[in-house]
């Protein structure tokens, strides 16, 4: 009798001990669950963003601000099942517009003489470039749902993309709930200050976009410049264009993104899917430049004049990255001493690729 009661008591104690031990673990599990589910949901939204950018038809006005500058632009965007057509009209300052039909873009910009749009080469087919870029980007950023809200009259979800390291900025993205269209975005630094912002102030998501809304209004054909978005040279070709110099350091996740068709200057662009920067290396004997960084909103310009083989060379890193990143990249430029021949170009290529791998 007494022994039986003792066994029951022991069992009760054991059960209690198990419960006490198990409960914190269970509590932890339920806490961790929403966190990963939250992140997974954010990534799911980001997956929708790429197609939504192209395949949603809409018209509206958005504002874009960086540094002291705020611009507003009117946009009409139509997708007819196979081709994207869009037209952007600058609403303040000088008049100008950009009209795109499929892979052809016509620009009429206020300072037309300074724009050489033929220098643009896309990094890939437009239709899927954004989504392709964003997915690997989730490796370098922590995606998180921040709740819901309203922008330009539409219900939205708010997503944070927080940088995993100090070499890139963080982002807040607002996506329209039905279509996944990006309706607002902010670029923030480590102190959570907003450096650059983009936001629709009026928006109408509709399939009813007239042809007239997409036609270029500028009559004078001489003022326009047309470019094609057909993919030109690939990233691998780009890397072989580096002549006489290479990069010893790149922030993790940044890969060659676009190649400009400039023979005189040495340029290479990198992107991690969200942020991008360009590295310029140019002989500038006649121009003295200071060393250091300037910032315009989220854009950093880092200048580093150096002597190489008795020549005055200017290294410039320009992009939406923190000054410390731009400086590290600029300081990692290494010149190959010998004159440029094919062997040197090959070794430059090799070292760039090698360092990219090492940085991962």
């Amino acid at each position: 009798m007494n022994g039986q009661a003792g066994t029951v008591w022991l069992r009760f104690l054991l059960a209690l001990a198990v419960m006490v031990l198990w409960m914190p673990a269970a509590a932890q599990a339920t806490e961790a669950q929403p966190q990963t589910a939250n992140s997974a949901e954010a990534v799911k939204w980001l997956q929708r963003l790429g197609p939504a950018m192209n395949m949603t038809s809409y018209r509206g006005v958005f504002v874009y601000g960086r540094g002291q500058q705020v611009h507003s632009m009117q946009v009409a965007h139509r997708y007819n099942g196979s081709m994207v057509e869009e037209r952007l009209v600058i609403q303040d300052g000088g008049s100008g517009e950009i009209v795109r039909r499929g892979m052809e873009v016509v620009c009429v910009l206020p300072a037309q003489d300074t724009v050489t749009l033929d220098a643009i080469v896309p990094s890939g087919p437009l239709a899927d470039s954004f989504s392709d870029q964003l997915l690997p980007a989730t490796r370098w950023y922590q995606a998180q749902m921040l709740g819901e809200g309203r922008v330009a009259g539409y219900a939205v979800v708010k997503i944070a993309l927080n940088a995993n390291d100090p070499y890139r900025y963080s982002y807040r993205l607002w996506l329209e709930k039905d279509t996944g269209l990006l309706v607002k975005s902010q670029t923030r630094n480590a102190d959570d200050q907003i450096l650059e912002h983009f936001q629709f102030t009026s928006l109408d998501i509709t399939d009813d976009i007239a042809d007239s809304e997409l036609q270029i209004a500028t009559a004078d054909k001489n003022q326009t410049s047309t470019i094609s978005l057909e993919p030109g040279s690939s990233a691998t070709e780009l890397v072989t264009r580096l002549q006489g110099w290479s990069l010893d350091w790149l922030p993790a996740g940044f890969e060659p993104a676009a190649t400009p068709r400039s023979d005189k200057r040495q340029v290479i662009a990198f992107s991690d899917g969200l942020a991008a920067f360009s590295v310029f290396v140019e002989d500038l004997a006649s121009l003295d430049m200071p060393t250091g960084a300037s910032r315009i909103g989220a854009t950093t310009v880092y200048l580093r004049p150096v002597q190489s083989d008795g020549r005055q060379v200017l290294i410039s890193v320009v992009g939406e990255v923190p000054p410390v990143t731009a400086r590290k990249v600029a300081e990692s430029v290494r010149f190959n001493s010998a004159a440029v021949d094919s062997a040197n170009v090959d070794s430059a290529t090799a070292s760039l690729v090698e360092h990219q791998d090492a940085s991962r």
């Binding site: 950018m53 958005f62 504002v63 874009y64 601000g65 960086r66 540094g67 002291q68 500058q69 705020v70 611009h71 946009v75 952007l88 600058i90 300052g93 000088g94 100008g96 950009i98 910009l109 300072a111 300074t114 724009v115 220098a119 643009i120 896309p122 990094s123 890939g124 437009l126 470039s129 954004f130 870029q133 990006l182 975005s185 200050q193 907003i194 912002h197 983009f198 470019i227 993104a257 676009a258 400009p260 992107s271 310029f280 500038l284 121009l287 430049m289 200071p290 250091g292 960084a293 300037s294 910032r295 315009i296 909103g297 854009t299 310009v301 880092y302 320009v318 992009g319 410390v324 731009a326």
Partner: protein, 189 residues
């Protein structure tokens, strides 16, 4: 601070203050109060314009009131002077450069949202253009674009433009990419 000074401050925000009033404001004994008032209004201004980005561009400690005085005494740059004359305005137009400098004096906002007159007028903290010898590994020396000459600024403008082009239409960034391109093209940052 009396209503008249407050009015001047308000007018400066709207780019409409006259020179005399600005001199009076700068001579006001309690500059802390001026600074505080400006800051509060600037915050409202930022909220209305959805900005607030520029605050990090200026060091709160930066004191360039001397620069504003100099501008007031030395007059406006020739190009702006001519522009003002051409416009045939009666009112003395408070130049954008001085406006931004004023924002630096009060140490907040750097006039975010104002559209400046056209040429490059980037505002950064007043720092040395030379590499800082005592700089630690983490710090990056800042270059003030205002301190550069025309050719240097043109060079930087070219780089900005080219970078914006790399990332506009081609990179699939949609409207943000276009906006960056237009932003550089129209200048005035």
């Amino acid at each position: 601070m009396d209503d008249r000074l407050r009015e001047t401050l308000s007018a400066m925000m709207d780019d409409e203050a006259d020179e005399l009033a600005v001199r009076r404001l700068l001579s006001f004994s309690d500059q802390d109060e001026v600074r505080g008032q400006w800051q509060r209004w600037q915050q409202i201004h930022d909220l209305m314009h959805g900005t607030g980005a520029a605050a990090d561009l200026v060091s709160p400690a930066a004191d360039v009131s001397a620069g504003v005085w100099q501008r007031l005494d030395g007059g406006v740059p020739a190009s702006e002077h001519n522009a003002a004359k051409a416009a045939g305005r009666q009112r003395w137009h408070w130049p954008a450069v001085a406006m931004i400098a004023m924002a630096l004096v009060v140490g907040f906002g750097a006039g975010s949202g104002w559209q400046s007159a056209g040429e490059l007028e980037l505002v950064t903290a007043q720092t040395t253009a030379e590499p800082n010898a005592t700089a630690t590994a983490a710090s990056v020396s800042e270059v003030s674009l205002q301190g550069l000459d025309d050719r240097q600024r043109q060079q930087i403008h070219r780089y900005l433009l080219e970078h914006a082009q790399h990332n506009s239409v081609g990179a699939g960034r949609g409207s943000v990419g276009y906006a960056r391109l237009v932003s550089v093209d129209t200048g005035g940052y």
